[in-house]
C-alpha cells in the first residue's frame, strides 16, 4: 500500500471546507475570550475584594484542567443537571468551553500588559489631576494594548489549535472530517498528513498577520 498523493489532494478540499468550523470557533472564542479576559484582568489588576481570589481559582482551574476534560465535563457532565446544556448543539458547547478557556489565557496576557505600565506613568497622570478612569483610558489601556497584542496573538493561535478537539463532541471540523474519511478509506497517512497541511496554512496566515501587527505596534512610539 503506497502513498497515494492523489487521494491526499482529493481530501484536502473537504478538510478545508470543514475548517469553516475552525474559523467560526476561533472567531467566537477570541471575541468572548477577550471580553472575559479583560474583565478577569481588571479584577486582578485592581485586586477587587472577593472577586480577585475567585478569579485566581478560575485561572488555576483553566490552566490545570485538560481541555478535553472540560469539554466532556460540560457537554456530558453539566448536561445531566441542565436542560439548557442538554439541548445545546455540540458546536455551541465547544464555543462556550473554548471561550471560557481562552478568557483565562487572555486574562494572563492582558494582566501582564497592564502590570507592565510603570508607576511613573501613573504618578504623572495623578499629579495632573486625572481620575482612575481617565488614567485607565488615556494611559494604561493604550500602553498595555501595545504590549498585549503580540501575546494575545499567540493566544489566538493556541485557540485555533484547541478547536481541533471539537470533534470529540461530534463537530465535523477538520479533525472531524478526517475521522469520517478515515473510517471509510483507512488511509490515515494521507488524511492526517492533509490535516496537518490545513493547520499549517491557517496558522501560517495567522503568523504573517501577527508579525505585521507586532512590527506596527513596536514602531508606534
Amino acid at each position: 500500500m503506497g502513498f497515494d498523493f492523489n487521494y491526499m489532494l482529493e481530501v484536502l478540499p473537504t478538510l478545508f471546507y470543514a475548517s469553516r468550523f475552525t474559523f467560526y470557533l476561533t472567531l467566537v472564542s477570541t471575541f468572548f475570550g477577550l471580553i472575559l479576559g479583560l474583565i478577569l484582568a481588571v479584577i486582578n489588576y485592581y485586586e477587587i475584594r472577593i472577586l480577585n481570589p475567585l478569579t485566581k481559582l478560575y485561572l488555576f482551574v483553566i490552566r490545570s484542567a485538560p481541555l478535553i476534560a472540560l469539554l466532556y465535563f460540560f457537554y456530558y457532565g453539566v448536561a445531566m443537571y441542565s436542560e439548557f446544556v442538554r439541548n445545546m448543539n455540540p458546536l455551541n458547547a465547544v464555543a462556550i468551553v473554548i471561550s471560557l478557556t481562552a478568557g483565562g489565557f487572555m486574562a494572563e496576557s492582558i494582566r501582564g500588559a497592564l502590570l507592565s505600565v510603570d508607576e511613573g506613568q501613573k504618578d504623572a497622570a495623578y499629579s495632573l489631576g486625572m481620575t482612575d478612569g481617565q488614567l485607565m483610558k488615556r494611559v494604561i489601556i493604550p500602553q498595555a494594548t501595545r504590549i498585549a497584542v503580540p501575546s494575545l496573538f499567540n493566544n489566538v493561535i493556541s485557540i485555533t489549535k484547541m478547536t481541533s478537539l471539537s470533534f470529540v463532541l461530534g463537530v465535523v471540523d477538520v479533525m472531524g472530517a478526517a475521522r469520517v474519511q478515515g473510517s471509510r478509506t483507512f488511509s490515515y497517512f494521507e488524511i492526517y498528513g492533509a490535516v496537518i497541511i490545513v493547520y499549517l496554512v491557517i496558522i501560517g496566515v495567522l503568523s504573517v498577520i501577527q508579525r505585521y501587527v507586532a512590527k506596527k505596534s513596536s514602531e508606534a512610539y
Partner: protein
Amino acid sequence: MTKNVIEIENLSKNFGDQKVLEDINLTIKDNEIVAIIGPSGTGKSTFLRTLNHLNEPTTGKITVGDVTVDAASYTKKQVQQLRMQSSMVFQNYNLFKNMTALENVMESLVTVRNVNKKEAREIALEQLERVGLLDKKDAYPSRLSGGQQQRVGIARALAVDPKVLLFDEPTSALDPMLVSEVLQTIKKLVETDHTTMLLVTHEISFARDVASRVIFMNEGRIAADGTPDEILSNPTDKNLQQFLNINQY
C-alpha cells in the same frame, strides 16, 4: 504682605513602621523659590509627593493654593482639587509614552480641565516654544534625549498655569552633558515667571544661584530653613555642615 501659597501643619508620613516624615510644619509664600536639600533617604521626595498626594500623608493638614486636604478626613474630589493647584516635574520625566511631546503638554488641559483642543494646542505650542522644543512637538518621548524629555516635562507642568511648581531632582537622571540645558530652562523660568517653586536638588551651587530660600531636611524633619546665605554660606546645624562638606567640590 504676600499671602501663603503652601501651608503644612503637623505633616507625618510612615511607610509601615518606618517614619519617613515627622511632624513637618511649613509655610511658603507666593513667589518663593525654595530649594530643598539633604542627604539621600531623608524624605525629600516623599515630602514633595505628599504635597501632590502621590503619597498619602499619615497625619497632617496640607494647603496648596486654596485647597486644603486633612489626612484625618478628605474626599477624592479634594485630592484632585489639591493636585490641580500644583504641577510636578519628575526625576525620571514620566512623560506619557503613548503621546507625542505636544500631546503630553496638551493632555491635562484637554482631559482634566476640559479646555477645547484648539486652545489647548495653542497653549501647548507656546509652552514648547518656551522650553525650546517646538521643532520636537511631534516626537514621541522614546525619540527624545533625557534633557529634551525633561524640558517637555517642564512644559507639561507649566501648561496648566499652576500656583506651585514641584521639581524632584529634575536633573539627577541626566547625563552630565545634559544637566545644564535643563538647569538653564529652570533658571529662565525663575527669572521670567512668578510661580512659586519647590525644588529638591543635589546641585548646591544651582540652589545658591536661583533659590530665595533653602530648606535642609534630615531624617524626616526640617533641620534648617533660611536664606541661601544663612543655610549655604553660614550653616550652624552640625548635620548641615557635614552635608555641605561632603557635597562641596
